[in-house]
């Protein structure tokens, strides 16, 4: 029995067990449900507005864009918050104390973060498709594209979440440090309204980060072909899309093992105890 492969299998098992725990936990799902309802209300309010210069409903544009954003939320924030939380409660230290526990931990986290993200995306997608007409006749290629964008988006963002999660001290800090920038980026990444209506320099800034490209990818998957006219360059720009997301993915997976190793090395009972004391003195 190769211990590493053995631990990898245990990691998959652990990921699955924890995914089931998440589904059973009303607290974890509660936040997702609230978010989903808010997004659906936004879509409903937008139902009679049109995208400028087209006869497509704005909500038709917003739904896929939101899905793109959710992939970032799920991968980046999901990983960051999980990582800090589990450093605080000692789950990570337990993994360190167990032979090959870190391998299993990482695999299980890739699985659980991805599946949590998949749940939030599905929760918005399914009622969204009922609410908005004209998105369902996309064929196999459309669904395939949706899946590819989901997977690539998760790969591009999850490692960076893990990096933040390893560097930041407390769960609250990791929430703040990820939520605010993502909120800001969402505002400039053409999620609620086409990016072409924003100033040029803002457009350029937004195109450095994955959110814009994931929104674009989701729109290319779900929207009718004519919608491309409201995009930059009137093109889905697949090369740039996969290029930017690919760079984020590769860079992330190059950086993350180093950061994780450093973090794991520093992790000990005393650092955990110190965080616990700090948390108790803060009162949350």
């Amino acid at each position: 029995m190769n211990p590493v492969i053995h631990a990898a299998k245990l990691g998959a098992k652990r990921g699955w067990i924890e995914f089931k725990q998440m589904l059973k936990s009303p607290m974890d799902l509660g936040f997702n449900i609230v978010m989903t309802v808010i997004f659906l209300i936004v879509l409903y309010v937008q139902r009679n507005r049109m995208i400028e210069g087209t006869d497509l409903a704005l909500s038709m544009f917003t739904l896929p864009s939101l899905l793109g954003m959710l992939v970032v939320f799920g991968g980046f924030m999901g990983a960051a918050v999980t990582m800090t939380y589990e450093r605080e409660d000692g789950t990570l230290l337990r993994a360190k104390a167990t032979p090959n526990g870190m391998i299993s931990y990482l695999i299980s986290r890739i699985i659980s973060v991805t599946s949590n993200s998949l749940v939030t995306v599905t929760m918005l997608l399914v009622p969204g498709l009922f609410l908005i007409q004209g998105l369902t006749n996309i064929g196999w290629s459309g669904w395939g594209m949706l899946l590819v964008i989901f997977v690539l988006g998760t790969l591009a963002t999850l490692p960076w979440g893990a990096v933040i999660g390893s560097l930041v001290k407390s769960t609250t800090a990791s929430f703040n440090i990820t939520f605010l920038p993502i909120g800001g980026l969402t505002a400039i990444s053409g999620i609620f309204y086409p990016i072409t209506s924003l100033p040029d320099w803002v457009q350029i800034l937004a195109q450095i980060f994955p959110i814009y490209w994931l929104g674009l990818g989701m729109r290319s998957a779900l929207m009718p072909d004519v919608a491309v006219l409201s995009e930059i360059g009137e093109s889905w720009r697949y090369v740039e899309m996969f290029g930017v997301l690919g760079i984020w993915t590769i860079a992330g997976f190059l950086v993350v093992p180093r950061i994780l190793r450093r973090m794991a090395r520093k992790e000990s009972g005393s650092t955990m105890e110190k965080r616990k004391q700090e948390m108790m003195s803060r009162g949350y």
Binding site: H6, D89, G90
Partner: protein, 315 residues
Amino acid sequence: MKMSVIEKGDTNVIEVNNLKMRYGMKNVLKGVTFSVKKGEVLALLGPNGAGKTTTIEIMEGFRIPSEGDVRVLGIHPKNGDEAWRAQLGIVMQSWRDHPKWKVRELLEHLGDYYKPYATSTRVRPLDAEELIGKVGLNEQAEQKISSLSGGQRRRLDVAIGLIGNPEILFLDEPTAGFDPQARRDFHEVIRRLSEFEDTTILLTTHDLHEAEKLSDRILILAGGRIGANGSSEQLARQVMGKAEVSWTIHDDHFKEEVVEPVQFVRNLFEQHGDAITDLEVRKASLEDTYIKMVQRIESNGQLEETLSTFEEGTP
């Protein structure tokens, strides 16, 4: 890595040499030296903040010492690989991980990691069900860990430390929060482990009776050094236990600390005869021994320090 087979008896499975640990400006360990033989049960005592947890975590490979040489199963902990780690059982001072898992589920899962490390002499992992029984969690086996009481949680921690049937078991205040029954059960588990599995056990505790009951040897860590090293009787003899004699003569109470209580009481009777009532002789208890020991170690340390600063100060 190939684990060398360690023979029972005189081999040291843990060797700590001149270990020093500094946190910022604070020197916590100032040169700790000791060794532990295979199969030995060692209790590490010391006041709060003495550095017990620090010492243990260095041996577990969780902390890098500032100076000194540490070998656990012949390996420097910081270079220890996963096969080395599989030989260790670890119960930290506080755990609150995996709150959403169920007791049996987690114990079985964590046990699985040790499967590749089973040997002809060591079954790995131990049977989770049996272990749950041993630590008295039968009724909680299907309960969520977050719903356990403090003492129950602690029992689970102990069970997790044992699940890999370790060569060396580190226990950092394992019985904190145990009720008397749980404590007794725990002592039984530890005794069996050291007897049948020949597990080397290193535990810290603030319960002196526990230390006396469980361990072959006691180390007292104070002032950054090991100030005492021996069985509980040896330690008691080292501080030369004085006894406390108290008596009453015509409603007046007296109390005195004496070295030779028998002689003292005989003299007392020769002088006062039947006038003495309420005689009580109390021998130095383990607590007294311990407290005196710590005081002595700490004042010695301070003396040394004053001397060394004095030496440094003189041209």
